[in-house]
Symmetry: C2
Subunit: 112 residues, 2 copies
């Protein structure tokens, strides 16, 4: 039973689904109402709306009702948090490789 507490859990979970990533990708270009957003997907509307709920619950998108349509837009903060975590780990990884490299170079010198 996934018990998502923290925002990274929620963000990565949201992004683990291709439909939801496609929605994010689409909203990068600008806001859209639900029906337009749903149009490319071969899925009943209520199913699609569930995906939007996942995205909205975790803060990756926000929406607003205008007349009878709900307009959705991207909220980049949450996205950035996830991206930042990844960048930081990647950075740690390359720092470690650099240290390893330096160490090996030193050893090679020492062996001469």
């Amino acid at each position: 039973m996934p018990n998502f507490q923290n925002t990274l859990d929620l963000a990565f979970h949201a992004l683990s689904d291709p439909t939801r990533r496609a929605v994010v990708s689409r909203l990068v270009e600008g806001e859209l109402p639900v029906t337009a957003l749903a149009e490319p997907f071969d899925m009943a509307l209520p199913s699609f709306t569930q995906h939007l709920k996942v995205l909205e619950d975790c803060g990756l998108i926000a929406s607003e009702k205008r007349g009878r349509s709900r307009w959705c837009r991207l909220v980049p903060q949450r996205f950035d948090e996830a991206a930042d975590w990844m960048m930081a780990e990647r950075e740690r990884w390359s720092a470690r490789l650099d240290r390893l490299d330096a160490y090996l170079n030193n050893n090679q010198k020492g062996e001469k």
Copy 2:
């Protein structure tokens, strides 16, 4: 029923769990056997091993049996694929903001 096909699905799904992210984070510093890796987590070993399986199935880590221990190490490719997707979307987003900005600036000039 999550039917994870593509590698991004699998990678983001794997990273949506705090235990699994912690494992990745830990392995950035170097390889470790399962027991050492499991030690900080308050969880039965079989449960922990399932997390390792998720990470290994999606290619984020690899492991190798040496004697009676299984040593795990990070495999950065898959991680990079996910990071790259995020960076690319972030890039598209900021490109769009730039266009928007340029457009607004032009309009302002025109209005003078």
